[in-house]
Chain length 307, copies 2
């Protein structure tokens, strides 16, 4: 018996009506239904001037950069890529449930390390930024690591309104700039991607520069390294980096053609709700909750090559 029928049979329809929540504007939907109903304006192409394509033997890894959060690191990284710094370097470290890291295997040897060219050797830490003015799509659910979470420009973000600061969150597939102990010891020549459970303890401790938007499995399925921290013990175990290019360096027809769902739309809000309460028939318990690191931004093949 449905609740409304039960209540009617008890003669309490008016009581129920007085206390019932208003019906939602749209009926609850599954993620697939939300995506199917999406409109062209709900999608965007990655900006070719701030998206990298890293070619491994297994195929391309696309990384969208976040200049709003790490302007100095992103500028350095773009200069390094345009200067062909990464071509011929390698994935040096894969630690299970943590990170894959790449760069120059000889970076610590001054006489053998590759030159950074016109890029800066050292940058200020860019661990957080001003919250004011950020176009944050807020997630309503609680997060143990920060008072506020949400999305900006397609990136997972955490924030502390009391301090007026915001920062990128270490979710799966986020990319950061490795550093030594000094907070300002990163320069984006050594990078890592999160391949396991979100290591949120790294938030506000290291500069995140972007997110792998396609091809993260080319890093996460690499063999784990056997040395401390997952570094490979032998050079021949490393996955070689054939090249890293800024997307705008490639002719349009050679650019990977994909689109990302925007995170500043009603469609995104509906998608978040579809993850908070799963409507697929398989689910018997709905959590009424989701975390900022539980939702990957959907992608789809682009209907045309981005201009």
């Amino acid at each position: 018996m449905r609740l409304s029928t039960l209540v009617a049979s008890l003669g309490l329809p008016c009581l129920l009506a007085a206390h019932a929540a208003p019906p939602p504007a749209t009926p609850p939907r599954t993620t697939a239904e939300v995506l199917k109903a999406s409109q062209p304006g709900d999608w965007r192409a990655p900006d070719p001037a701030r998206t990298l394509v890293m070619e491994l033997a297994s195929g391309p890894v696309l990384i969208e950069l976040a200049p709003r959060f790490a302007p100095r690191h992103v500028a350095n990284l773009l200069a390094l890529a345009r200067g062909r710094y990464f071509d011929g370097l390698a994935v040096l470290r894969v630690q299970d449930n943590y990170v894959a890291q790449w760069g120059d295997p000889e970076a610590d040897k001054p006489d053998q390390a590759r030159s950074l060219g016109a890029a800066d050797l050292r940058l200020p830490a860019e661990f957080d930024t001003a919250l004011r003015g950020l176009p944050l799509t807020r997630l309503p659910d609680a997060d143990g690591w920060a008072p506020v979470t949400g999305w900006v420009d397609g990136f997972p973000v955490a924030a502390d309104p009391r301090r007026g600061r915001a920062w990128l969150a270490h979710c799966h597939a986020m990319v950061g700039a490795a550093r030594a102990n000094p907070p300002d010891s990163s320069n984006a020549s050594a990078l890592y991607a999160v391949i396991g459970h979100a290591p949120r303890a790294l938030d506000r401790n290291i500069t995140l520069v972007g997110r792998v938007i396609s091809g993260i499995e080319r890093l996460s399925a690499l063999p784990r390294g056997g040395a401390t921290l997952g570094f490979y013990e032998q050079a021949e175990q490393r996955a070689a980096i054939r090249s890293v290019r800024v997307l705008d360096e490639l002719p349009p027809e050679q650019r990977p053609a994909l689109e990302l769902l925007r995170t500043d739309t009603a469609t995104w809000q509906a998608l978040v709700e579809s993850r908070r309460n799963r409507r697929e028939a398989w689910f018997v318990h709905r959590a009424a909750h989701v975390g900022v690191c539980d939702i990957a931004v959907p992608t789809r093949p682009a209907p045309r090559i981005p201009q």
Copy 2:
């Protein structure tokens, strides 16, 4: 200038003393320091009667089972393993940032499916259990998915005291029994392990049976499958399961010799605190928070072969 020196120079030492928190009973330590100070009684061997060793071409995967939470599924799984059900089956599905799943590739074909022998074909769902009486080591920090979290018998657990229920949490390396849409359609002949960010939306929707305590990288580094849900498209892409044995079936000298840190000790509490506030020199920001899925239970080679 240290704060105490600064305060003394301002003539406010008494004011500070009146408001200062009492010093902690033990000085804050790093995880490495906590483990170094651990005593033999802080460690335990896995119970050979409820621990499986699954042999892949790459080596062993050890799975400790959780009969307290899923007694029927664990009994079935042990009967299946003792009946050699899994020998020669395969890993069928690896979906990035989600799960690796193994079992009988012909399970859906009644005339070709392997017999379950003495095991039950169908079991009741074991999605949660009574909270009362559980020896829960509580985590003080908030969790968005449940009112309470902590550890029981080395497993990550979530609970709802108002409803008096507790359940295993879908953290990295947890192992569950795949099911179809009916909640009671699992029988532990098809299993999955979490290889990515904790899919906590699965909590209370599917029966977890244990945790990979060693060798999860032999599943998480497998190639991802190209078909829907990460299933492999070709049979030859699957990783073969040479055998699954209950540890007590092996002569003691052939059992993998490792110990796990107990989760019901003061040492465990100190380890949790070392993850809540990272004391390693590298960290500049301490979160004063950790999630139940952020801490993997440490293991070490056993000083002697478990009896």
